[in-house]
């Protein structure tokens, strides 16, 4: 039986990555995720790895690109304004079909914003973020343990689909401490793809590249990238549903907000309101089918987010006109209160909005 330890979210991410075989970290400090690079700067030298503080987020993500191309399990982490700077590199990494792990502990924006938790990077994370046709695989953990478990599997997923995987957390999940059980380290060595550029010893030279001057060739590559994402839709969708079977009001929330919504469901049920919760764990690919199927009974959906309304668009697309979709959100680092969400649930349960 593995030992349970009290761990801060950011440090747990880093430890999980090391146990998953990550030996290279390139990053740049930004609040509220600094414990990740700090932990890596202590931990990676212990296991023969390399931590390097880059001169900028732009440089850090391009170091990740080089290291991933050289066949390493590599990660970077940042928070919202830093992730914006990494988008150029992420687009190139996606275009060059390279695997890596990116952690975004989201803070309020736009611009420099603040340092309090937010979920306002959802669009940027799941709709591409950088230029061009691609999707990241994105997970939104709701506990430190879940974050550890997702990180442990993320390198395999990144390598399987040859794409960056993003853990989309927020300031709370990064800063909170919870008991956590770490899985045993994954046994290496990890297989290197037949595309890795590590010196053309006894083989033909290889090129890692995202340039394709012929439109039909680029179209071909984008179709290949899209096909891998379609494959991920079949295999990597993760979702938790709570008390949805008979629900009149179905809350949809991820990460920290989902934790608050769980208590809202309990309190609503205690009042006799049939409320339920859908908690997407994979935000990209999004659990469309779960929501579409639930919509057949025509409950009212209420997307709850720490944003001005971003994931709600994916809820609406998933419902596809079958039921009514409402939104409640806070922004700029304000955390929604359970009471305020419960008021909204009461209002929806009373009203005749059911389609």
């Amino acid at each position: 039986m593995a030992e349970r330890k009290l761990f801060k979210g950011n440090e747990a991410v880093a430890e999980a990555a090391v146990r998953a075989g990550c030996r290279f970290f390139f990053g740049y400090p930004i609040t509220p995720q600094n414990e990740i690079p700090e932990y890596m700067s202590r931990r990676l030298p212990e296991v023969g790895g390399v931590f390097l503080q880059a001169e900028s987020e732009v440089a850090a993500i391009n170091m990740v690109y080089g290291a991933a191309g050289a066949g390493a399990r590599v990660m970077t982490s940042s928070s919202s304004p830093g992730i914006s700077l990494k988008q150029e590199g992420l687009s190139y990494i996606a275009g060059a079909e390279l695997p890596c792990l990116v952690v975004n502990m989201v803070r309020g924006g736009p611009g420099l914003g603040g340092i309090q938790p937010a979920q306002s990077d959802y669009f940027q994370a799941v709709k591409g973020g950088g230029h061009g046709d691609y999707h990241l695989i994105v997970f939104g953990p709701a506990s430190v343990q879940e974050m550890v478990d997702l990180v442990m599997g993320s390198f395999d997923i990144a390598e399987k689909y040859r794409t960056p995987v993003m853990i989309l957390g927020d300031g709370i999940i990064g800063q909170m401490m919870e008991p956590v059980e770490f899985p045993e380290p994954l046994p290496g060595p990890f297989p290197k793809g037949d595309w890795v550029t590590d010196g053309a010893r006894g083989r033909a030279p290889r090129v890692i590249n995202s340039l394709s001057l012929h439109a039909d060739k680029l179209f071909e590559r984008n179709l290949r990238i899209a096909a891998r994402f379609e494959e991920a839709k079949k295999n990597e969708v993760r979702v938790e549903t709570i008390a949805c079977e008979d629900a009149d009001v179905v809350l949809v929330a991820y990460g920290t907000t989902a934790r608050i919504c769980k208590s809202v469901v309990d309190r609503a049920r205690a009042e006799g309101i049939r409320a339920g919760l859908v908690r997407p764990i994979s935000l990209s690919p999004f659990p469309e089918k779960t929501i579409f199927d639930l919509a057949a009974r025509k409950p009212v959906f209420l997307a709850v987010e720490m944003s001005q309304g971003q994931m709600v668009e994916d809820v609406r697309l998933s419902v596809n006109g079958r039921a009514d979709v409402r939104f409640y959100g806070t922004s700029g680092g304000v955390i929604p209160s359970a009471s305020a969400i419960l008021d909204k649930v009461r209002e929806l349960a009373r009203s005749e909005v059911r389609a």
Partner: protein, 251 residues
């Protein structure tokens, strides 16, 4: 019959897309010769730039990664940290290295990253159609300095070699030109030395190559060579600007 000249093993036997009179082809050859002579083709990884030489990976016979504009030193850093025994070099133009990528090149030198940088300076943006570069000379006309570069407006051209030579982590910094057979010979020796510095683990090495752009300068190739000599070399003097301890001087 004795063969006295052939295509280096590290150079792909195919025609390049470069304009007549452009020196990218010469510089490619010098790199390939150096890699061959040092016997490191099978552990060399090159970083192709953005710009005219973006297709460099088509012309070399070793592994390559293409990088975003200016980011080659960061990509090279990632590769070298994963594969310390690899021979890693970047190939960058003046827009790439001296403009959008100044942070990356300065910090790679500062960290004494054990990489080799080949910096091709032709005082203009080639691939995008002849716009002003940070290395464009004062009064030089380009499509975005149609009245000539004015110092009061755009400042003076940046001397990258002199700047990087002030950084302690730089082990070898040299500027060469490709305008004459003698200078091509000197360029070859400098490029080879920049690889030797990496192989010896001495630190960051860069060779700035003064090059021509007949197409965007609006000159015939032989006029471009003369223009380089008459205008570029006086502002961008040739020579070795830094040879750290352990690096032999070319003399």
């Amino acid at each position: 019959m004795k063969q006295v000249f052939s295509i280096p093993e590290s150079l792909a036997p195919r025609l390049t897309h470069y304009c007549p009179g452009c020196t990218h082809g010469i510089i490619h050859r010098l790199i390939a010769e150096a890699v061959d002579e040092l016997g490191v083709r099978e552990r060399t990884i090159g970083i192709a730039p953005v710009g005219c030489s973006v297709l460099a990976y088509d012309y070399f016979q070793f592994d390559m990664q293409q990088a975003a504009h200016g980011r080659a030193p960061a990509v090279a850093t990632g590769i070298k940290r994963v594969l310390p025994d690899a021979v890693v070099f970047t190939y960058q133009g003046d827009g790439d290295l001296a403009s959008i990528g100044t942070a990356e090149i300065v910090h790679a030198a500062m960290r004494s990253e054990k990489i080799t940088v080949v910096f091709v300076n032709n005082a203009i943006y080639g691939m995008t159609g002849g716009q002003m570069a940070p290395t464009t000379l004062v009064n030089q006309k380009t499509t975005t300095s149609p009245y000539g570069r004015r110092e009061s407006h755009a400042g003076k051209p940046i001397r990258v070699s002199e700047m990087l030579a002030t950084i302690p982590g730089a082990a070898y910094i040299a500027r060469v030109a490709l305008n004459s057979p003698a200078n091509v010979g000197r360029a070859k020796r400098a490029i080879k030395k920049a690889f030797e510095v990496q192989l010896a683990g001495l630190g960051f090495a860069m060779v700035e190559c003064l090059s021509t752009c007949p197409t965007n300068w609006g000159m015939a190739p032989h006029e471009a060579m003369k223009w380089l000599e008459a205008n570029m070399i006086p502002y961008f003097p040739l020579g070795e600007f830094r040879t750290a301890e352990g690096v032999a001087s070319n003399g």
